[in-house]
Structure formats: structure tokens, C-alpha cells
């Protein structure tokens, strides 16, 4: 089976699940499908760094959380009729998703630029550790910042607005999340076939060769890292709206680990892999979690099996060796 067919099947299954939920009048299923779409989107962002760029970031919760707090802070300020700041000009909050998203993207991209610029001077296990350290700094900052809930988090009483849609209707919000996921997947696929994508794949395979071609590896990787952080930040903005709540747990290292689990389960470097990984994660959580609260034990076993015997994850096992367009 070609990877393209598998990608389409994964996305069709996701959309199918949501419509099944609509027809069967089971809004909970739609919410789960929305969660898969959003977490999958976060994974697509991380996968761009790990799978395409060879940068194993263990701190992507930072971008996810920053995206979440953008939505949380803007929306809750607006809902409480407060102002964000009154100096130098008065800025008030907003409940418009179309304003939340660009700000979430810009802030998480800026943060990824800052963190990436420093972290990319290292590699291997040092890179993993330094990205984790930066994310932990932001986590503790959020915990100790009382204006926006601190440790207790920040509720958003009403889900943010999208022009022309009632976002409180689960299927509408699924449409928004899934539409964004599809758009980002299309963009990433396009990017990977561009000269930049070619260079990024090349840097991952053999940096010395790329240097000898006259191309600086640092610039290529940093650009990719920023794009990766921006995608995960966008997912964070949606996730806050899904839960109507943000808390520092979005920024915790456990979140970084979960996003990485989506990538590994689904298939590192596979376009739709993180969506499949997130779906498997949610399904396990629902089925096993109803049976025992220690369901993550089975997740761990599954991860070990994937890492030892099926390195390509779900998509890689089905599609075989990667091909480059």
C-alpha cells in the first residue's frame, strides 16, 4: 500500500468517526474525534522536527501550552469584560478564533526561534535535554504566574467564536479542527516536496554532505524548528477551546512525552502518522482506561513493541520504506 493511500484512509476514518457520532447522536464520539484531530495536529508539528528534520525535541509542550494560553488569556479576558493591558494602548481580549490563531502561531514560532537558536548548537541527547529544560522553565513560569490562574489553570466559559458557525455544536467545532488539520497536512506535504524540504531531509541524513554543498545546516534546521513549533502552537490554541480550560499541565513534560508518543506510534516522518498515533492513544485510553486506571501500562508495552519490532509505527509498517518525491 502506498503511503498516500494510507494517509487518505486515516483521515477518512477520522471524518467517518465524527459523522458516525453525529448520525448516532453520540456527541461524545465527535468530541473524541475532535481531540484526535487536535492532538494529531500537535503531533504533525513535532513530527516535522523529529521525522523530517532529525531534531528530537522533548519540549514541544512549550509551544502547545503557549498556544493554549493565547486562547485562554484572550478569551477569558474578553468574557470577563477586562482589558489585557491599558498601557501604552488599551488592548482588550477577543473570542474570535481567527484572531487567536495568528497570535498563537506568532508567539509559538517566536518562542521556537528563541529556543531553537540556542538548542540547535547542540545535538543528540544534549538537544533532547536542553529542549526539555526550556519547556520546564515555561511550565514553572506558568505555575507561578497568579494573574492567569497559576497552578489552578484558567477556565474559558464559552468556546471561542468562528464566523458563521456555532462552535458549541460538536460537529461544527470538529469541522474547524479537522479543516485546520487537513490544511496543515497539505502545507507540510507541499513543503516537503519543495527545495527547502529536500534540504531538510538531506540535513537529517548527512549534515556534512549538505555543508559541502554550500548550505548551512543551522539555518535549514532552525527554519524547520520554527515551523514545527508554530504548528504545535496552533494545535494548543484549539485544544484550549476543546476543553474550555487551560492549565500548566499543557506545558508539562508529560505532554511533551505524549505528543512524542503520537509520533512514534503513528510512524516517525510519516505525514499522517501522528494522526493515527493520536487516534490509537485515544482509543486505548477510552477502552483500557474504562477497565483500569493503570491503562498506561499497556501503552508502555505497546510502545516497547513498536520501538523494537515496528520502527515505522502504524504507517511505516503498512507502507514500507519511505520514498521521496
Amino acid at each position: 500500500m502506498s503511503e498516500r493511500v494510507i494517509s487518505v484512509a486515516i483521515l477518512a476514518a477520522l471524518i467517518g468517526a465524527a459523522f458516525f457520532g453525529k448520525l448516532a447522536d453520540e456527541p461524545y464520539i465527535i468530541t473524541l474525534a475532535t481531540k484526535v484531530a487536535i492532538l494529531g495536529l500537535a503531533g504533525v508539528g513535532l513530527n516535522f522536527a523529529i521525522g523530517s528534520g532529525g531534531m528530537v525535541s522533548f519540549g514541544h509542550a512549550a509551544y502547545f501550552g503557549v498556544g493554549g494560553y493565547v486562547t485562554g488569556i484572550l478569551a477569558s479576558t474578553a468574557l470577563n469584560y477586562e482589558v489585557l493591558t491599558s498601557w501604552p494602548i488599551e488592548i482588550s481580549g477577543t473570542t474570535q478564533m481567527l484572531i487567536h490563531w495568528p497570535i498563537a502561531i506568532a508567539l509559538s514560532a517566536g518562542l521556537a526561534l528563541l529556543i531553537g537558536a540556542m538548542s540547535l548548537r547542540t545535538s543528540g541527547v544534549y538537544f533532547i535535554m536542553i529542549t526539555l529544560a526550556f519547556a520546564q522553565m515555561i511550565y514553572y513560569f506558568a505555575i507561578s504566574w497568579p494573574s492567569y490562574g497559576g497552578e489552578d489553570g484558567l477556565p474559558i466559559y464559552v468556546r471561542s467564536d468562528f464566523p458563521g458557525l456555532n462552535t458549541l455544536d460538536p460537529i461544527s467545532f470538529f469541522g474547524v479542527a479537522c479543516g485546520l488539520l487537513l490544511a496543515v497536512l497539505w502545507g507540510v506535504a507541499r513543503l516537503m516536496r519543495s527545495p527547502f524540504g529536500l534540504a531538510l531531509e538531506a540535513v537529517r541524513q548527512n549534515p556534512a554532505r549538505v555543508t559541502a554543498m554550500g548550505l548551512g545546516q543551522y539555518r535549514v534546521q532552525l527554519t524547520a524548528f520554527v515551523i514545527s513549533g508554530a504548528i504545535t502552537g496552533l494545535a494548543g490554541a484549539l485544544y484550549a477551546d476543546l476543553n474550555r480550560f487551560v492549565s500548566p499541565s499543557m506545558l508539562s513534560w508529560a505532554t511533551s512525552g505524549e505528543i512524542m508518543i503520537f509520533v512514534i506510534l503513528g510512524g516517525v516522518g510519516r505525514l499522517a502518522g501522528p494522526v493515527a498515533g493520536a487516534a490509537l492513544f485515544i482509543i486505548l485510553e477510552q477502552i483500557l482506561g474504562g477497565w483500569t486506571e493503570h491503562w498506561q501500562f499497556f501503552l508502555g508495552v505497546m510502545l516497547i513493541v513498536v520501538v523494537l519490532y515496528a520502527r515505522g509505527g502504524i504507517v511505516g509498517t503498512l507502507a514500507g520504506r519511505r520514498r521521496y518525491g
Binding site: 527547502f196 529536500l198 538531506a202 556534512a208 559541502a212 548551512g216 535549514v220 521521496y324
Partner: protein, 245 residues
Amino acid sequence: MDEPILSVRGLRKSFGALKATDDVSLDLVAGEIHALIGPNGAGKSTLIAQLSGTLCPDAGQIRFGGRNVTELAPAKRAALGLARTFQVSSVLPEFSARQHLRLACQARGSLGFWRRADRFTNVEDRADQLLRRVGLTADADVPATDLSHGARRRLEVALALAGAPRAFLMDEPMAGLGAEGNADLTQMLRTLKADAPILLVEHDMDAVFALADRISVLVYGRVIATGTADEIRVNQDVQEAYLGT
């Protein structure tokens, strides 16, 4: 003689007490193959590393194309046209030869984010032309990991050509090739010097004496002689230090 394209003056590099490069000066002028020979441990690889920029010299100067590049990063030197091949083939295992060339031909411009990499007709034409030149047309779409050793060597040459080179640094291009591959590559290098001069580090003495216009002999980090093949053959110091053994 024209101004040399690559010129090294008083280069020094020590590792502790070991002088790996000891006051080395040499020139590479247009149209020549300048071979660098020397016994194992003479400091050839250290010198190449300093020329390509992966190692920083302790003292001395490297000028390339009339510009001081002593402190310049490796990628920037390559972008200026200093093309290198590696002692151990350095390719992108998952990419085909055509994809290598596609990237190499675009690497020096600004990289596009949107248009498909294989839709740039001038790049595709150039890649085809280079594949033909090194005889890789038939294997153009095979991943590099499945290419034979000789084919990878030729791919490296094509990649060096792709970057509009002004000088080649070749670190033992013949290493590990059989007699036939060796003869092929010797022939290819001979045509290559019309594109740009070659600084050739090589162990294969037959190839060196067949190809080189000038030879420099490096022993314990020092250049003990520079001259034509005939001059080097009869040079007393060289015989004692190297060829005589």
C-alpha cells in the same frame, strides 16, 4: 603564473605536542592538478580539514579566490566554490543520484518553500547533464545506499561539479576502487581540471604520477618538496623520507 586560486601561507596546527601542520605553504593555480602525497600520519587529512573549514588552524592564512577565508565556515567556503569530495564516500543514503544533484544545483540560491523541487526545468537539465557526464544516467533514480562504491564515488564528483566550483579538494578519491574503477576515475579527473584546478590527496602513486602537474610532499606536517612529477621522482629528500622506504 596567474594569481593562485587557492593559496596557503604559513599554516600551523598542533594537537598537544604533535605538529600536524607545520608551516605549510602551497598554491593551487588554474588548470592544474596539484597532488599532495605523504606517508600515513603526515598530516594530509588535517590539512584538508583546515582548507575545507572543519578545523581551525592555529596560525597562518588561507586565501581562496583572492579572499581571506581562514575563519570562514565550511558551508560558506563551499558556497564560494570550494568543492570537496570525501575520503569515505559521503552521500545521502535515502536520496537517489538525481535528488542529490537537484539539491546541489539549488543549494546556493535561496531555497523555495512552495514550488515542487522537481519542477525547476533549468535544475533538471543541469542534473541530467551532470549525470551523463559522470555516467550515472542509468542509475539516476536508485537510492544512494543501493549504489555501488564506484558509482557513489562518481556521484561525489558530480556533486562537486554541481556547485559551480572554482577549485576541487579531493581526499583520496581512488580509495577502495578496483583497478578498472581506478582507470575510469583517473580519466575523469583529467577532464575535470578544465573546469577547475584540483588539489588531490591520494595514496595511489600510479594515479598521482599519471595525473599531477605538480606534487607536494608532506612529511611530519611539513612540505619537504614541491615540483613536477619528474622533479619529485629524483628528489633526494623525498626518496629518503618516503618513496625509498
